[in-house]
Structures are given as C-alpha cells and as structure tokens.
Symmetry: none
Subunit: 202 residues, 4 copies
C-alpha cells in the first residue's frame, strides 16, 4: 500500500517516450510542410501516437509546438576563431544566416506564428533559441576581451541580442537579402563601434 496518499498514483504510468516522439514529429513536420500545414493529426500519426495522448499532456496546439521547439536542438553555428574580432563576427553571422535559411529556419518562423497566437506561453520559447545562440557569441566576445579588442564599457548582452533581432527581421519580415555585404556593414558600422565605445556620457 502506498503510505503517502498524494504520491500514490494508480493505473498505468505515462510513457515518457511519447513526449519525445511527439516533439520530434512536430519539428520535422514544421520543417517539411511549415507551421500552417502542421496539424495535430499529422503529428499524432507521424509520432505513432493518438490525439488523446497529445491532448492529455498539452492543452493546445500552441503548447505542443512550444514544447517541441523548446526541446529542439537547433543546429549550432560552429566554433569560430579567426584571430580577430571583426572577422569572427562576420563568420559567425554568415553561419547564422545559413542556419536561418536551412530547415531550422521554418521552425524559427513558426515561433513567430505561435508567439502571435499564444502570447502568454510564447514567452518561454525564445530562451531556448537565445541560449543556444548566445553561447558562440560569448566565446567570441570573451576571446576579444582577453585580446583587449573590446572596451570594458561594452554592453555584451545587448550586442548578442541585436544580431538575431535584425536577421530575423530581415529574413522573415522585410524579406530583404542578408548577404556578406550587409553583414560586413552590420559588423563594421554597428557592432564594432558599440563594442569599442570609449565612455558613456550618461
């Protein structure tokens, strides 16, 4: 007999393998057909799972997607070390564009849809996205600090936020090209000056 009533869960326990199957199915469906045509029924079928099993765990399509995204290992930008900050940043951004235009791009785009529908829950998503992204940023920037390429006044967090913001904006909203030329001007005209700024007159 179960001594602690509240912990005594009767019946068949949930199979945790289902969670991951559903998450994987969701992501690959988004990559294949896009968010709009990624239906719950299709996810269920692809995951070899029934709809009830999905809705027993999450109350919404949005939450299903949120969970899938937040457990998705986004393709990582490779570690970069050219020896100087400027070229490190350019290479990093070029690598990021490649990711955003690859299969994970559709996933990122779907975040934006989900975010609109489900503003409350969408809050949780970008952490995972940002966390992954900022890792490489940090390495590059820390190396630059050691070299003395970056002013101690620099706002590193903000710098790490600007790049995904402007690239997402260009690629998914204004549909403008994000080529090497644009990236170089972004690095030379914004990121480097900001990283090297002398003092705040605040």
């Amino acid at each position: 007999m179960c001594p602690v009533k509240a912990l005594c869960i009767k019946g068949r326990p949930r199979d945790s393998k289902r969670e991951s199957a559903i998450a994987e199915a969701s992501i690959s469906l988004i990559q294949e057909v896009g968010y709009e045509r990624c239906t719950i029924e299709a996810i269920a079928h692809k995951a070899g799972v029934s709809k009830a099993t999905i809705y027993r765990r999450w109350k919404n399509k949005a939450e299903v997607i949120v969970h899938a995204i937040s457990h998705h290992a986004f393709s990582q930008t490779p570690s970069i070390d050219t020896g100087n900050l400027r070229d490190d940043l350019v290479e990093l951004l070029l690598a990021k564009v490649k990711v955003l235009k690859g299969p994970d791009g559709a996933v990122i785009a779907s975040i934006m849809s989900a975010a609109n529908t489900d503003s409350e829950l969408a809050k949780a998503i970008p952490h995972s996205v940002r966390d992954g992204e900022s890792q490489v940023h940090k390495v590059i920037l820390e190396r630059a600090i050691e070299r003395g390429d970056i002013s101690p006044n620099a706002n590193l967090e903000l710098l790490a936020e600007i790049t995904p913001a402007i690239m997402t904006y260009r690629i998914f909203m204004s549909q403008q090209p994000v080529n090497r030329k644009f990236i170089e001007s972004l690095v030379d005209d914004v990121l480097i000056p900001s990283a090297q700024k002398i003092a705040t007159n605040k």
Copy 2:
C-alpha cells in the same frame, strides 16, 4: 466605340470603394479581436460586402490581410526635437513602443503571421511599415548631422533598421520588456557609438 481595344474594359467595373471598405474593416477587426479571430465573414459583414466580392479580388485570407496592411496608415510617431541626438532617440523609441503596444501593435503582429503563410507577397508589406517609421528617423538624424553630432561615416539606413528590428523582436518574439532603461542602453551603447564612429577599419 472604344478606340483603344486594350483599354476598353468590358463588363461592370469593380467598385474601388469596396477595396478600401474591406481593407478598413480588416484592420479594425484585427485591432479589435486579433488576427486569429478576424474571419472573412466578419470582414465581409463589417465592410458591407459579400464574401464573393472579397474572393473575387484576393484568393486567400492571407492576401486580403496583406492588402489591408499594405494600405494601412500606421499611427505615426510625433515629431521630436529635444535639441540633442541622444534625447531625440530616446524619445523616439519611447514613442514607438507606445505605438507597438497600441492598436497597431496587433496589426504589426499579424504581419508576422501573414508573412509565414504568404512569404511571396509578404515582401510588399514592410515597405509601408518601414517607410512610415523611417521618416521620423531621418528628420532626427539629419538634424544631428547639421549639428555635427553624427560622423559622416555613419550608416544611417542601417541605424534606422535596427530599432524596429530589435523592438519587434523583443515585443513580439522574446516578450521581454521594452522600458526606458532598455531604450537608454540601446541608444547609449549601440546607436550613439555607431553614429559617432570615427573611421572604418575595412
């Protein structure tokens, strides 16, 4: 008889008043109930128009919205003149946040939905958004140039693109707060250093 065959339009001409009625109805519905609950039937009813009249012009709900947005006059940020660049920018960004969180915020958010579904046509949208936004930017920056506050090396277009990008990202995607503190650090740590950068090491 019509002298120029190609110009001789047969049949009852489309009533352009319908187009604008539909566009207005779409926008105000998005503002009232959001993109998801803005149905074609509701638009038709509000515009005093039949569904057929809508689908005769656009093949999709997405295209209807795209058209509506691209013809929408977004609320403008007021003209600002504090006398110095830094405060101009802070005031400008504060005003923009207000807009993005007001009724037009829902409209902007809906752009992101439409953009996913309708990547081809979505290209046309942001022009209207950017064009409106960049106007005030230009005034502020030009005034700063006259005062000598901005280096001739500054990349003004890029500067004008960063602000909407990061604000949209924060508000609609990462759901992070966009308060005075954040805006000030954005201005002081990124925009000003970039505007005043001395030379390109390219």
Copy 3:
C-alpha cells in the same frame, strides 16, 4: 484482446442514433419546406447533429436524402374490403391519391430530384416505396382470386405497378387531376379488363 481481428472495431463506434435522427430530420424538413429548401445545415440543426457527422456518413446531400427516404415508413393506405374487386380498387386508388397529396407527396417528389442527380444510388429507393404500396394491392387481389373475380392468367405484379406509375406521372409530371372519375375509368377500362383477361394470344 479481440479474438477475431476483422471484427475488432477500433475507435469510438458511430452512434446509430445519429443516423435515424438525421433521417427523420431530413424527411420532416422535406415535408415542411420541400426538397429545394431542405439544406444540410437545417437537417443537422434539426437532428441535433453537426454537419461533419453527416458528411462522415454520406458524401453528398443527395445520398443523405436517399438514405432518409429509403428508411422512411411511408404512410400506408388502410386495408380495404368492400366485397367486390372493382370497388376495392377504386377505394384503394382514392386512398393512394390522398397519400400522394399529403405530406409524403413532397417526399415522393423529392425522390425524383434525387433520382436525377444520383442515378446510381436511386436504384435502392423505390424498393421501400413499392414494398409498402404493393402490400395492400396483394391483399385485395388475393381476395379477388379466392372469389374467382380474377383470371388465373392475370399479371398481378404488373397490375400493381401500373397504378403508382400512372398516378405519379399525373400528379408530379403532367399535373393533371387525379379525381374519382379518372380513377374509375382507370379501374374499369384498364385494371379490370386486364385482371379478367381470358387468354394470351402469344
């Protein structure tokens, strides 16, 4: 475990009460407003059922109606016994006219619409109509045989088919009156001679 695989029905079984509710709703709507104004949505609403539930079972409005009709118990002509064949037949036909002009008339008329659209499935309908009709016929004719009023050469099935045919034709197609005078001449000039015919010269 289900021992017989083929009989093991998975998933929630269809609720057969829905079928009958839909059929009843269809028939009563046809009786009330006629075939043309009997919409699927109205049927669904009257049956307390959703459109999807209807379209899950039948692929067409026509098939819905076909099913409804083929499960409808048409109002029966009462049993008749005047003691002689001639008057039995006259009374029977008068009773039938009454039925065809009553609520079931609209239903019979709708058969003709459905039959045009849905020639394949319409085959199934008239069984129900004929089966009900022929019952009373048989009783009358068998009694007449016992009395010796009918020649053993008579083609009883054909006789039983002529009356609904000519009455349907008159009422629904040529819109001619079907009054007592017409019925008497039909009985005296066609049915009785045919029933009493002496021999086939074939």
Copy 4:
C-alpha cells in the same frame, strides 16, 4: 408619331434569334452534363449570349428550362405498320425505350426535376412531350379500329397515357429494366385486354 400608344415600341427590339439559341444551348447542355450541372452561366456562354439577355426574357432558371423543353423537338418514334395491333404496340414501345435511353432521356428526366421545383410552371411542359408521343399512338390505334382489332368501348386516351407513365416510372424512378419481355407482357396483359374489353359493367 405612333397612333396607338400601347403599340409604340421605341428602342432596339429584342432579337428573336437569341431565344432559339438559348433554348438550343439549354437542351444540349442538359443532354451533355445533366440538369444539375446545366448552369445559367454555361447556357449563356454556349448560346453566345449574356446572362442579362436570359433574365430579361425569363425570371427563373426553371422558366428558361421550361421554355427550352417546350420548344424542343423530341426525337420521334418512327411510323410503324406490322399489320397487327399487338406487334405494332410492341415495336412502338421498343422504339420509345430507345428514345428515353438516348440523349432525350436526360431531357425528360430534367423535366421531373423542374416539375418538382416549379410545380406551377411545370404544368405547361408535358403537353409538348405528350403531344409528340401520342401522335404515333393515334395512328396505330386508328388503324386497329379500322381492322376491328379494338373494341369501340376502349378508352384510347387512357391507353396512350399508360405507356409513357409506366416507362418513365421504370426508367427514371425504380430503375428497373424495360426490355422486350417486359414490353410484351405490358402489351399482352394490359394494353390488348383493355383495348378489346367487351363492356363496362358500370
């Protein structure tokens, strides 16, 4: 000046060629695609005419069809003369079946639809159908009278009505076969006994 006001018709007169073009287009569309898919727009297009021109003349689709049918020359059964009544009738009915199963069959079937929808106006239609059909009947029957094959008591009109009724019923409603065997039993067991009946016991 026009002396009789009522007769004074100004403006471009209606082109009567349109009426026939519309009627022909209607009939051939019914023959090709059936009543259900014979739309006003298709008729207009096929007749090289605008919808307005159609609705200027008739207020309904039903009336358009009614007019077309009532001006349609149904394919005639050929004149028959085998020398005896029984074989004349059999040949006649076989010829009629052929007609009903040919292109005009669809037209006849459409009458039934129109009759249901438009009970008021449908009254006018069958005259044209019956008139054409009864012609051949009459010739055959009159010849039989001359030969003395038919009793002077026979109800010829009723006889002429039974055949189309039962054949229409079989072909379009109960979908039963109308083959030579059925036709012979109809002639031998019903038509001939009725035609030769000795006296009315009325």
